[in-house]
C-alpha cells in the first residue's frame, strides 16, 4: 500500500489532527450546553418576543431544535462513522456464515446496526450473504435492523424524546428484526427467492484495504460523512422542524388526542399503513412526529409510524424485488408490519 507509507512530518501532522478533534469536541460540548440559554436570550431579550406568546414559543422551538439536532447529528455521525471504519460488511458476513437460526438472528440484527451499510447496497448484500451460505432468515434480520435502528433515527429520538424512549426504540427495533427474520426463516421461503441468487458463484475473498486505515483517514472519512448526510437531509429537517414548530405553537393541545390517543385501537394500524408508502429519511419525520406526540398522539402510535416509514419503504421494496419474488416480498412486508404493529401497541401500554 504505497499510499499509506509514513512520510516525514506525518507524526506532527497526526498530533495536530488529534488536537483538532479534541478542540472540535470541546466546541461541540460548549455549543450544546449554551444552546438553550443562547436562544432564550436572542429570541426573548434581543428580539423581544413574549415567551408566553404562540409566535415566541414557535420561533424559540424552531431555532433551539434546529441547533440541537444539527449538533447531535454531526457529533454522533462523526463518532459512528469513525467506529464503523473498523467494521466491514465482508467481516459481518464471515461472522454470520454457518450460524444457526435463533442466535444467528440475534447476531445479524446486532451487526445490522454496527455495519456500515447503505440501503442502495441491499441487493448485492443480500446476494452476497445468501450465496455465501448465510440462511435466508438471518440475512433478512440484518436487512430489517440496518435501516430501522440507524444512527440518525436513534439520535433524533434521543434529542426529541430523551434517552428512555431512545433505548426502548433500539430494543424494540432489534426485537422486530430478530423475530421477523426468525419467522421468515422458519417459513422456508427459499423457493420464492429468485433462482439466480443461489447460482451466484463467489470468486474468493476480498481484501478490504479500509480495515487498516490510519486514524487521519478515519477522521477524514467521518468528517466527509457528516458533510454528506447533513448536506443531504437539512432541507427535510428544516421543513420538519418548521411544521413541528407550527403545530407546537398553534395547534390546540388535545388536537389529536381524541382520535389518535392511546384509547383508539385503530390508531396504530392506520399509522403503519400510512407510514409504509411514505418515504422519508428519519430526519424529516421525527420533528413532525414529536409535534404529533406533543398534541396527544400516543407515543407508541407515533413510533410505529416512524418505524414503518424508515424500515418499509417503497424504493427499497422495488430494489429487493430484483432478488425476492412478489410472494416473498409481500410476506416480508406482512411479517415486519405485524412486528411494528405489536411494538406500537406495546409502547402504548409501557409508556
Amino acid at each position: 500500500m504505497s499510499v499509506f507509507l509514513p512520510e516525514p512530518g506525518t507524526r506532527r501532522a497526526s498530533r495536530n489532527l488529534w488536537g483538532l478533534v479534541i478542540a472540535a469536541a470541546f466546541a461541540w460540548l460548549v455549543g450544546y450546553v449554551v444552546n438553550g440559554r443562547l436562544w432564550d436570550w436572542v429570541v426573548f431579550d434581543v428580539v423581544g418576543l413574549d415567551p408566553e406568546s404562540r409566535l415566541g414559543e414557535a420561533v424559540h422551538f424552531f431555532v433551539y431544535d434546529t441547533t440541537k439536532i444539527l449538533l447531535l447529528l454531526s457529533g454522533i455521525i462523526f463518532i459512528v462513522t469513525v467506529l464503523r471504519s473498523f467494521v466491514t460488511i465482508e467481516r459481518t458476513r464471515a461472522l454470520l456464515g454457518g450460524r444457526r437460526e435463533g442466535i444467528g438472528n440475534v447476531a445479524a440484527a446486532g451487526l445490522g446496526v454496527v455495519t456500515p451499510f447503505c440501503s442502495c447496497s441491499a441487493v448485492p448484500a443480500f446476494i452476497g450473504f445468501v450465496a455465501a451460505g448465510v440462511p435466508l432468515g438471518i440475512t433478512l434480520s440484518f436487512l430489517i435492523a440496518s435501516p430501522m435502528v440507524n444512527e440518525v433515527a436513534v439520535i433524533l429520538i434521543l434529542g426529541m424524546f430523551g434517552w428512555k424512549v431512545a433505548v426502548l426504540y433500539v430494543v424494540f427495533g432489534l426485537l422486530v428484526a430478530i423475530v421477523a427474520g426468525y419467522v421468515l426463516g422458519r417459513l422456508r421461503l427459499e423457493r420464492w427467492v429468485e433462482p439466480f441468487v443461489f447460482e451466484t458463484k463467489l470468486r474468493g475473498d476480498v481484501i478490504e484495504p479500509s480495515t487498516d486505515m490510519p486514524w487521519e483517514d478515519r477522521f477524514a472519512f467521518g468528517w466527509q460523512e457528516v458533510k454528506t448526510i447533513v448536506g443531504k437531509i437539512w432541507p427535510y429537517l428544516l421543513v420538519g422542524i418548521a411544521l413541528g414548530a407550527a403545530i407546537h405553537g398553534w395547534a390546540p393541545e388535545d388536537l389529536f388526542a381524541s382520535w389518535a390517543g392511546a384509547g383508539n385501537p385503530l390508531a396504530v394500524p392506520i399509522a403503519v399503513l400510512v407510514g409504509i408508502p411514505l418515504y422519508s429519511s428519519a430526519a424529516g419525520v421525527i420533528p413532525l412526529v414529536q409535534a404529533l406526540a406533543d398534541k396527544g398522539v400516543a407515543l407508541g402510535t407515533v413510533l410505529a409510524f416512524m418505524m414503518a416509514v424508515v424500515a418499509l419503504s417503497v424504493p427499497e421494496m422495488i430494489l429487493l424485488r430484483r432478488v425476492l419474488k412478489p410472494k416473498l416480498l409481500a410476506t416480508f412486508v406482512g411479517v415486519v408490519g405485524v412486528g411494528i404493529l405489536t411494538v406500537g401497541y406495546l409502547f402504548n401500554v409501557v409508556i
Binding site: 500500500m1 504505497s2 499510499v3 466491514t88 460488511i89 465482508e90 458476513r93 456500515p116 451499510f117 447503505c118 442502495c120 447496497s121 441487493v123 448485492p124 448484500a125 446476494i127 452476497g128 450473504f129 450465496a131 439466480f196 447460482e199 451466484t200 458463484k201 463467489l202 470468486r203 474468493g204 475473498d205 476480498v206 481484501i207 478490504e208 484495504p209 479500509s210 477524514a220 472519512f221 430484483r322 432478488v323
Partner: protein, 80 residues
C-alpha cells in the same frame, strides 16, 4: 491496465467513476473505465457494498468514494 467500476448506477457509483477518470487524467493515463452493473457479476467479485473499484481484476476499495489523491496512489501503484 484494466479498470472497473462496480455499481448499479447509484449516485456514489457515478461519483467514483468521475473521481477515477480525474485521477487517470492527472496521471496522464489513457485507460478506459469499464462499468460493471450486473448484480451477479458484482457479487461474484466478493463485493457487497457498492461502489467498488477493481484494478486488473483485483478489488481495491468498496463501499465508499475515495479521494482523487488516494485513487492516483492506487492507480500509480498498479502501473509500476
Amino acid at each position: 491496465m484494466k479498470i472497473e467500476v462496480l455499481g448499479t448506477g447509484c449516485k456514489n457509483c457515478n461519483a467514483l467513476e468521475a473521481a477515477t477518470s480525474e485521477a487517470l487524467q492527472q496521471l496522464g493515463l489513457d485507460v478506459p473505465i469499464d462499468k460493471v452493473t450486473d448484480y451477479g457479476e458484482i457479487v461474484a467479485y466478493g463485493v457487497m457494498s457498492t461502489p467498488a473499484l477493481a484494478i486488473d481484476g483485483e478489488i481495491k476499495t468498496t463501499g465508499r468514494v475515495p479521494s482523487v489523491s488516494e485513487l492516483t496512489g492506487l492507480l500509480s501503484g498498479a502501473t509500476s
